[in-house]
Symmetry: C2
Subunit: 189 residues, 2 copies
Amino acid sequence: MPAPDRTSLEEIIAAGRTVVESAGLDGLTMQAVADRVGVRAPSLYKRVRNRGALVALVAEATVRDLAARLDSAAPSDGDARRGLVGLARELRAFAHECPVAFGLVFAPGGGGVSQGVLAAASAPVLRVATALVGESDALPAARTITAWANGFVTMELAGAFRLGGDVDRAFEYGVERLAEALANSVNEH
Amino acid sequence: MPAPDRTSLEEIIAAGRTVVESAGLDGLTMQAVADRVGVRAPSLYKRVRNRGALVALVAEATVRDLAARLDSAAPSDGDARRGLVGLARELRAFAHECPVAFGLVFAPGGGGVSQGVLAAASAPVLRVATALVGESDALPAARTITAWANGFVTMELAGAFRLGGDVDRAFEYGVERLAEALANSVNEH
DNA sequence: ACCTGAACACCGTTCAAGT
DNA sequence: ACCTGAACACCGTTCAAGT
Protein backbone atom coordinates (compact mmCIF):
# COMPACT_ATOMS: atom_id res chain seq x y z
CA MET A 1 0.00 0.00 0.00
CA PRO A 2 1.66 3.26 -1.05
CA ALA A 3 1.76 6.11 1.41
CA PRO A 4 1.10 9.57 -0.04
CA ASP A 5 4.00 12.07 0.01
CA ARG A 6 3.46 14.48 2.84
CA THR A 7 6.33 16.79 1.87
CA SER A 8 9.03 17.32 -0.76
CA LEU A 9 12.72 18.16 -1.00
CA GLU A 10 11.93 21.72 -2.09
CA GLU A 11 9.64 22.23 0.86
CA ILE A 12 12.31 20.91 3.21
CA ILE A 13 14.95 23.23 1.81
CA ALA A 14 12.60 26.21 1.98
CA ALA A 15 11.80 25.35 5.60
CA GLY A 16 15.50 25.05 6.31
CA ARG A 17 16.12 28.53 4.92
CA THR A 18 13.37 30.03 7.05
CA VAL A 19 14.48 28.23 10.19
CA VAL A 20 18.14 29.10 9.79
CA GLU A 21 17.39 32.81 9.48
CA SER A 22 15.15 32.92 12.53
CA ALA A 23 16.99 30.49 14.80
CA GLY A 24 20.58 30.60 13.57
CA LEU A 25 22.73 27.72 12.39
CA ASP A 26 22.48 25.91 15.73
CA GLY A 27 18.71 26.26 15.57
CA LEU A 28 18.64 24.47 12.23
CA THR A 29 17.76 21.10 13.75
CA MET A 30 16.08 18.22 11.98
CA GLN A 31 13.19 18.53 14.40
CA ALA A 32 12.67 22.23 13.75
CA VAL A 33 12.60 21.62 10.01
CA ALA A 34 10.35 18.58 10.39
CA ASP A 35 7.93 20.54 12.56
CA ARG A 36 7.72 23.31 10.02
CA VAL A 37 7.09 20.85 7.23
CA GLY A 38 4.50 18.89 9.20
CA VAL A 39 6.35 15.61 9.44
CA ARG A 40 8.42 13.68 11.98
CA ALA A 41 12.18 14.12 12.00
CA PRO A 42 13.06 10.61 10.77
CA SER A 43 11.00 11.19 7.63
CA LEU A 44 13.46 13.84 6.48
CA TYR A 45 16.03 11.13 5.89
CA LYS A 46 13.96 9.88 2.96
CA ARG A 47 14.97 13.02 1.02
CA VAL A 48 18.16 14.24 2.69
CA ARG A 49 21.20 12.20 3.63
CA ASN A 50 21.81 13.96 6.93
CA ARG A 51 21.94 17.38 8.59
CA GLY A 52 25.17 18.32 6.87
CA ALA A 53 23.60 17.68 3.49
CA LEU A 54 20.63 19.81 4.46
CA VAL A 55 22.92 22.67 5.44
CA ALA A 56 24.71 22.33 2.11
CA LEU A 57 21.38 22.35 0.27
CA VAL A 58 20.35 25.53 2.07
CA ALA A 59 23.65 27.15 1.11
CA GLU A 60 23.30 26.00 -2.47
CA ALA A 61 19.74 27.29 -2.84
CA THR A 62 20.92 30.62 -1.44
CA VAL A 63 23.75 30.89 -3.96
CA ARG A 64 21.34 29.97 -6.74
CA ASP A 65 19.07 32.85 -5.74
CA LEU A 66 22.03 35.17 -5.49
CA ALA A 67 23.15 34.21 -8.98
CA ALA A 68 19.74 35.15 -10.39
CA ARG A 69 19.75 38.44 -8.54
CA LEU A 70 23.24 39.33 -9.74
CA ASP A 71 22.37 38.31 -13.26
CA SER A 72 19.45 40.71 -13.47
CA ALA A 73 21.40 43.46 -11.70
CA ALA A 74 24.10 43.68 -14.34
CA PRO A 75 22.82 44.35 -17.86
CA SER A 76 25.44 43.25 -20.36
CA ASP A 77 25.36 46.60 -22.12
CA GLY A 78 26.02 49.92 -20.40
CA ASP A 79 28.99 51.28 -18.49
CA ALA A 80 31.15 48.56 -16.96
CA ARG A 81 32.05 50.63 -13.93
CA ARG A 82 28.41 51.30 -13.16
CA GLY A 83 27.81 47.60 -13.67
CA LEU A 84 30.41 46.75 -11.06
CA VAL A 85 28.89 49.14 -8.54
CA GLY A 86 25.45 47.69 -9.21
CA LEU A 87 26.65 44.13 -8.70
CA ALA A 88 28.35 44.98 -5.44
CA ARG A 89 25.29 46.76 -4.07
CA GLU A 90 23.04 43.89 -5.10
CA LEU A 91 25.27 41.35 -3.36
CA ARG A 92 25.24 43.43 -0.21
CA ALA A 93 21.48 43.87 -0.28
CA PHE A 94 21.00 40.15 -0.78
CA ALA A 95 23.30 39.29 2.09
CA HIS A 96 21.35 41.59 4.37
CA GLU A 97 18.15 39.78 3.48
CA CYS A 98 19.43 36.34 4.46
CA PRO A 99 22.52 36.97 6.59
CA VAL A 100 22.78 33.56 8.20
CA ALA A 101 22.45 31.55 5.00
CA PHE A 102 24.83 33.92 3.24
CA GLY A 103 27.43 33.48 5.96
CA LEU A 104 27.08 29.75 5.47
CA VAL A 105 28.28 29.69 1.90
CA PHE A 106 31.97 30.07 2.64
CA ALA A 107 31.79 28.88 6.21
CA PRO A 108 34.55 26.52 7.37
CA GLY A 109 33.35 23.04 6.51
CA GLY A 110 29.72 24.05 6.23
CA GLY A 111 29.94 25.11 2.60
CA GLY A 112 30.06 22.38 0.06
CA VAL A 113 28.28 24.42 -2.61
CA SER A 114 28.63 22.66 -5.94
CA GLN A 115 30.98 23.95 -8.57
CA GLY A 116 28.25 24.68 -11.10
CA VAL A 117 26.16 26.87 -8.86
CA LEU A 118 29.22 28.78 -7.72
CA ALA A 119 30.19 29.32 -11.34
CA ALA A 120 26.72 30.62 -12.14
CA ALA A 121 26.97 33.20 -9.38
CA SER A 122 30.42 34.22 -10.63
CA ALA A 123 29.36 34.63 -14.25
CA PRO A 124 27.97 38.18 -13.98
CA VAL A 125 31.06 39.28 -12.08
CA LEU A 126 33.28 37.72 -14.70
CA ARG A 127 31.34 39.54 -17.41
CA VAL A 128 31.86 42.92 -15.75
CA ALA A 129 35.50 42.12 -15.05
CA THR A 130 36.11 41.25 -18.68
CA ALA A 131 34.56 44.53 -19.80
CA LEU A 132 36.78 46.39 -17.36
CA VAL A 133 40.20 44.77 -17.82
CA GLY A 134 39.95 42.54 -20.86
CA GLU A 135 40.09 38.78 -21.25
CA SER A 136 43.60 38.11 -20.06
CA ASP A 137 43.13 39.52 -16.56
CA ALA A 138 39.41 38.88 -16.22
CA LEU A 139 39.73 35.97 -13.79
CA PRO A 140 42.02 37.58 -11.22
CA ALA A 141 40.03 40.82 -11.54
CA ALA A 142 36.77 38.98 -10.89
CA ARG A 143 38.35 37.27 -7.89
CA THR A 144 39.50 40.60 -6.54
CA ILE A 145 35.99 42.02 -6.79
CA THR A 146 34.34 38.94 -5.31
CA ALA A 147 36.84 38.69 -2.49
CA TRP A 148 36.36 42.32 -1.50
CA ALA A 149 32.57 42.21 -1.69
CA ASN A 150 32.27 38.94 0.20
CA GLY A 151 34.80 40.02 2.78
CA PHE A 152 33.13 43.35 3.35
CA VAL A 153 29.67 41.91 3.79
CA THR A 154 30.90 39.05 5.95
CA MET A 155 32.72 41.42 8.29
CA GLU A 156 29.78 43.76 8.34
CA LEU A 157 27.37 40.98 9.26
CA ALA A 158 29.76 39.68 11.90
CA GLY A 159 29.73 43.12 13.51
CA ALA A 160 33.40 43.74 12.82
CA PHE A 161 32.67 47.30 11.70
CA ARG A 162 30.76 48.36 14.80
CA LEU A 163 33.70 50.45 16.00
CA GLY A 164 32.56 53.72 14.49
CA GLY A 165 32.80 55.29 11.08
CA ASP A 166 30.21 55.21 8.33
CA VAL A 167 29.92 51.67 7.00
CA ASP A 168 27.89 52.70 3.96
CA ARG A 169 30.52 55.23 3.04
CA ALA A 170 33.27 52.64 3.46
CA PHE A 171 31.40 50.35 1.08
CA GLU A 172 31.02 53.03 -1.58
CA TYR A 173 34.63 54.06 -1.07
CA GLY A 174 35.71 50.47 -1.63
CA VAL A 175 33.78 49.85 -4.86
CA GLU A 176 34.85 53.19 -6.24
CA ARG A 177 38.52 52.55 -5.54
CA LEU A 178 38.24 49.04 -6.91
CA ALA A 179 36.45 50.11 -10.09
CA GLU A 180 39.02 52.78 -10.72
CA ALA A 181 41.97 50.51 -10.04
CA LEU A 182 40.70 47.89 -12.47
CA ALA A 183 39.73 50.36 -15.16
CA ASN A 184 43.12 52.06 -14.99
CA SER A 185 45.07 48.80 -14.98
CA VAL A 186 44.33 48.37 -18.68
CA ASN A 187 46.66 51.23 -19.60
CA GLU A 188 49.65 49.58 -17.97
CA HIS A 189 51.32 46.27 -18.55
CA MET B 1 40.94 20.53 51.81
CA PRO B 2 42.03 22.37 48.67
CA ALA B 3 42.40 20.39 45.45
CA PRO B 4 45.40 21.27 43.30
CA ASP B 5 44.71 22.84 39.90
CA ARG B 6 45.10 20.19 37.27
CA THR B 7 44.81 22.61 34.34
CA SER B 8 44.43 26.29 33.48
CA LEU B 9 42.44 28.53 31.17
CA GLU B 10 45.44 29.01 28.91
CA GLU B 11 45.97 25.29 28.61
CA ILE B 12 42.31 24.80 27.78
CA ILE B 13 42.40 27.45 25.05
CA ALA B 14 45.58 26.01 23.61
CA ALA B 15 44.00 22.55 23.58
CA GLY B 16 40.94 24.02 21.90
CA ARG B 17 43.07 25.51 19.15
CA THR B 18 44.83 22.22 18.51
CA VAL B 19 41.62 20.21 18.54
CA VAL B 20 39.75 22.59 16.25
CA GLU B 21 42.46 22.43 13.59
CA SER B 22 42.68 18.67 13.60
CA ALA B 23 39.01 17.78 14.09
CA GLY B 24 37.12 20.78 12.73
CA LEU B 25 34.59 22.94 14.49
CA ASP B 26 32.23 20.03 15.09
CA GLY B 27 35.11 18.08 16.57
CA LEU B 28 35.72 20.81 19.13
CA THR B 29 33.78 19.04 21.87
CA MET B 30 34.15 19.57 25.58
CA GLN B 31 35.24 15.96 25.89
CA ALA B 32 37.94 16.24 23.25
CA VAL B 33 39.38 19.32 24.95
CA ALA B 34 39.09 17.73 28.39
CA ASP B 35 40.86 14.58 27.20
CA ARG B 36 43.72 16.61 25.75
CA VAL B 37 44.07 18.56 28.95
CA GLY B 38 43.88 15.48 31.17
CA VAL B 39 40.69 16.28 32.99
CA ARG B 40 37.00 15.32 32.88
CA ALA B 41 34.61 17.38 30.78
CA PRO B 42 32.63 18.86 33.70
CA SER B 43 35.82 20.35 35.11
CA LEU B 44 36.11 22.68 32.13
CA TYR B 45 33.09 24.58 33.40
CA LYS B 46 35.18 25.88 36.29
CA ARG B 47 37.10 28.07 33.81
CA VAL B 48 34.79 28.44 30.82
CA ARG B 49 31.11 29.34 30.83
CA ASN B 50 30.13 26.92 28.07
CA ARG B 51 31.18 25.63 24.67
CA GLY B 52 30.24 28.87 22.92
CA ALA B 53 32.53 30.80 25.22
CA LEU B 54 35.33 28.35 24.50
CA VAL B 55 34.86 28.82 20.76
CA ALA B 56 34.97 32.58 21.26
CA LEU B 57 38.14 32.28 23.32
CA VAL B 58 39.78 30.22 20.60
CA ALA B 59 38.83 32.85 18.02
CA GLU B 60 40.07 35.64 20.26
CA ALA B 61 43.43 33.98 20.91
CA THR B 62 43.81 33.47 17.18
CA VAL B 63 43.15 37.13 16.44
CA ARG B 64 45.58 38.11 19.17
CA ASP B 65 48.30 36.04 17.51
CA LEU B 66 47.41 37.48 14.15
CA ALA B 67 47.71 41.00 15.52
CA ALA B 68 51.23 40.29 16.73
CA ARG B 69 52.21 38.79 13.41
CA LEU B 70 50.82 41.73 11.45
CA ASP B 71 52.48 44.16 13.78
CA SER B 72 55.92 42.74 13.20
CA ALA B 73 55.29 42.37 9.47
CA ALA B 74 54.74 46.07 8.87
CA PRO B 75 57.59 48.28 10.01
CA SER B 76 56.31 51.82 10.51
CA ASP B 77 59.02 53.25 8.30
CA GLY B 78 59.61 52.22 4.70
CA ASP B 79 57.44 52.27 1.62
CA ALA B 80 53.73 52.18 2.40
CA ARG B 81 52.87 50.17 -0.69
CA ARG B 82 55.42 47.53 0.18
CA GLY B 83 54.02 47.58 3.70
CA LEU B 84 50.55 46.85 2.40
CA VAL B 85 51.77 43.92 0.33
CA GLY B 86 53.67 42.56 3.32
CA LEU B 87 50.62 42.78 5.57
CA ALA B 88 48.43 40.99 3.08
CA ARG B 89 50.91 38.18 2.58
CA GLU B 90 51.35 37.77 6.30
CA LEU B 91 47.61 37.54 6.85
CA ARG B 92 47.33 34.91 4.17
CA ALA B 93 50.22 32.88 5.55
CA PHE B 94 48.74 33.02 9.02
CA ALA B 95 45.33 31.89 7.79
CA HIS B 96 46.92 28.92 6.05
CA GLU B 97 48.55 27.89 9.31
CA CYS B 98 45.30 27.77 11.29
CA PRO B 99 42.53 27.70 8.68
CA VAL B 100 39.71 26.49 10.90
CA ALA B 101 40.31 28.96 13.72
CA PHE B 102 40.77 31.74 11.19
CA GLY B 103 37.48 30.93 9.54
CA LEU B 104 35.88 31.11 12.96
CA VAL B 105 36.66 34.76 13.56
CA PHE B 106 33.96 36.19 11.32
CA ALA B 107 31.78 33.10 11.30
CA PRO B 108 28.03 33.66 11.66
CA GLY B 109 27.31 33.68 15.36
CA GLY B 110 30.53 31.93 16.26
CA GLY B 111 32.64 35.08 16.43
CA GLY B 112 32.22 37.27 19.42
CA VAL B 113 35.80 38.51 19.36
CA SER B 114 36.13 41.46 21.70
CA GLN B 115 36.41 44.95 20.36
CA GLY B 116 39.86 45.55 21.78
CA VAL B 117 41.50 42.54 20.21
CA LEU B 118 39.90 43.29 16.87
CA ALA B 119 41.19 46.85 17.10
CA ALA B 120 44.69 45.59 17.86
CA ALA B 121 44.67 43.46 14.73
CA SER B 122 43.41 46.40 12.70
CA ALA B 123 46.04 48.83 13.96
CA PRO B 124 48.85 47.86 11.56
CA VAL B 125 46.44 48.00 8.62
CA LEU B 126 45.23 51.40 9.74
CA ARG B 127 48.82 52.59 9.94
CA VAL B 128 49.57 51.54 6.38
CA ALA B 129 46.27 52.95 5.17
CA THR B 130 47.04 56.31 6.75
CA ALA B 131 50.43 56.40 5.08
CA LEU B 132 48.79 55.60 1.75
CA VAL B 133 45.74 57.87 1.68
CA GLY B 134 46.07 60.25 4.61
CA GLU B 135 44.08 60.64 7.81
CA SER B 136 40.69 61.57 6.39
CA ASP B 137 40.20 58.40 4.32
CA ALA B 138 42.28 56.06 6.45
CA LEU B 139 39.35 54.20 7.99
CA PRO B 140 37.47 53.33 4.78
CA ALA B 141 40.78 52.53 3.10
CA ALA B 142 41.74 50.16 5.91
CA ARG B 143 38.33 48.52 5.68
CA THR B 144 38.75 48.05 1.96
CA ILE B 145 42.08 46.33 2.47
CA THR B 146 40.85 44.17 5.32
CA ALA B 147 37.67 43.19 3.51
CA TRP B 148 39.56 42.13 0.41
CA ALA B 149 42.24 40.18 2.28
CA ASN B 150 39.76 38.43 4.57
CA GLY B 151 37.43 37.68 1.70
CA PHE B 152 40.16 36.30 -0.49
CA VAL B 153 41.57 34.01 2.15
CA THR B 154 38.15 32.88 3.29
CA MET B 155 37.11 31.94 -0.22
CA GLU B 156 40.45 30.30 -0.85
CA LEU B 157 40.16 28.18 2.29
CA ALA B 158 36.57 27.30 1.46
CA GLY B 159 37.75 25.96 -1.88
CA ALA B 160 35.85 28.56 -3.88
CA PHE B 161 38.84 29.12 -6.16
CA ARG B 162 39.31 25.49 -7.13
CA LEU B 163 37.90 26.14 -10.58
CA GLY B 164 41.19 26.78 -12.32
CA GLY B 165 43.47 29.76 -12.69
CA ASP B 166 46.48 30.64 -10.58
CA VAL B 167 45.33 31.55 -7.08
CA ASP B 168 48.71 32.96 -6.05
CA ARG B 169 48.69 35.20 -9.09
CA ALA B 170 45.14 36.37 -8.32
CA PHE B 171 46.29 37.30 -4.83
CA GLU B 172 49.26 39.31 -6.06
CA TYR B 173 47.08 40.91 -8.72
CA GLY B 174 44.59 41.94 -6.04
CA VAL B 175 47.07 43.57 -3.66
CA GLU B 176 48.81 45.31 -6.49
CA ARG B 177 45.58 46.77 -7.86
CA LEU B 178 44.45 47.74 -4.38
CA ALA B 179 47.73 49.39 -3.46
CA GLU B 180 47.72 51.37 -6.66
CA ALA B 181 44.10 52.43 -6.33
CA LEU B 182 44.65 53.73 -2.81
CA ALA B 183 47.92 55.46 -3.58
CA ASN B 184 46.42 57.19 -6.61
CA SER B 185 43.26 58.25 -4.80
CA VAL B 186 45.23 60.92 -2.94
CA ASN B 187 45.57 63.02 -6.08
CA GLU B 188 41.82 63.31 -6.53
CA HIS B 189 39.10 64.66 -4.34
C1' DA C 1 38.50 25.07 45.94
C1' DC C 2 38.82 22.15 42.21
C1' DC C 3 37.67 17.49 40.53
C1' DT C 4 34.67 13.62 39.60
C1' DG C 5 30.71 10.28 38.55
C1' DA C 6 26.06 10.22 37.85
C1' DA C 7 22.31 12.10 35.81
C1' DC C 8 19.30 14.76 32.50
C1' DA C 9 17.90 17.07 28.30
C1' DC C 10 18.49 17.39 23.57
C1' DC C 11 19.83 16.14 19.00
C1' DG C 12 21.21 13.10 14.98
C1' DT C 13 20.32 8.84 13.16
C1' DT C 14 18.63 3.99 12.46
C1' DC C 15 15.15 0.60 11.96
C1' DA C 16 11.31 -2.43 12.42
C1' DA C 17 6.56 -2.02 11.96
C1' DG C 18 2.65 0.35 10.19
C1' DT C 19 -0.43 1.97 6.14
C1' DA D 1 6.80 3.62 -0.83
C1' DC D 2 6.64 6.92 2.57
C1' DC D 3 5.63 7.64 7.50
C1' DT D 4 6.02 6.74 12.39
C1' DG D 5 7.42 5.45 17.35
C1' DA D 6 10.96 3.47 19.72
C1' DA D 7 15.52 3.13 20.51
C1' DC D 8 20.61 4.26 20.69
C1' DA D 9 24.77 6.99 20.69
C1' DC D 10 26.71 11.24 21.62
C1' DC D 11 27.16 15.78 23.44
C1' DG D 12 26.37 19.88 26.58
C1' DT D 13 25.49 20.91 31.09
C1' DT D 14 24.31 20.53 36.13
C1' DC D 15 25.13 19.02 40.70
C1' DA D 16 25.92 16.52 44.82
C1' DA D 17 29.67 14.25 46.79
C1' DG D 18 34.48 13.56 47.15
C1' DT D 19 39.40 15.21 48.43
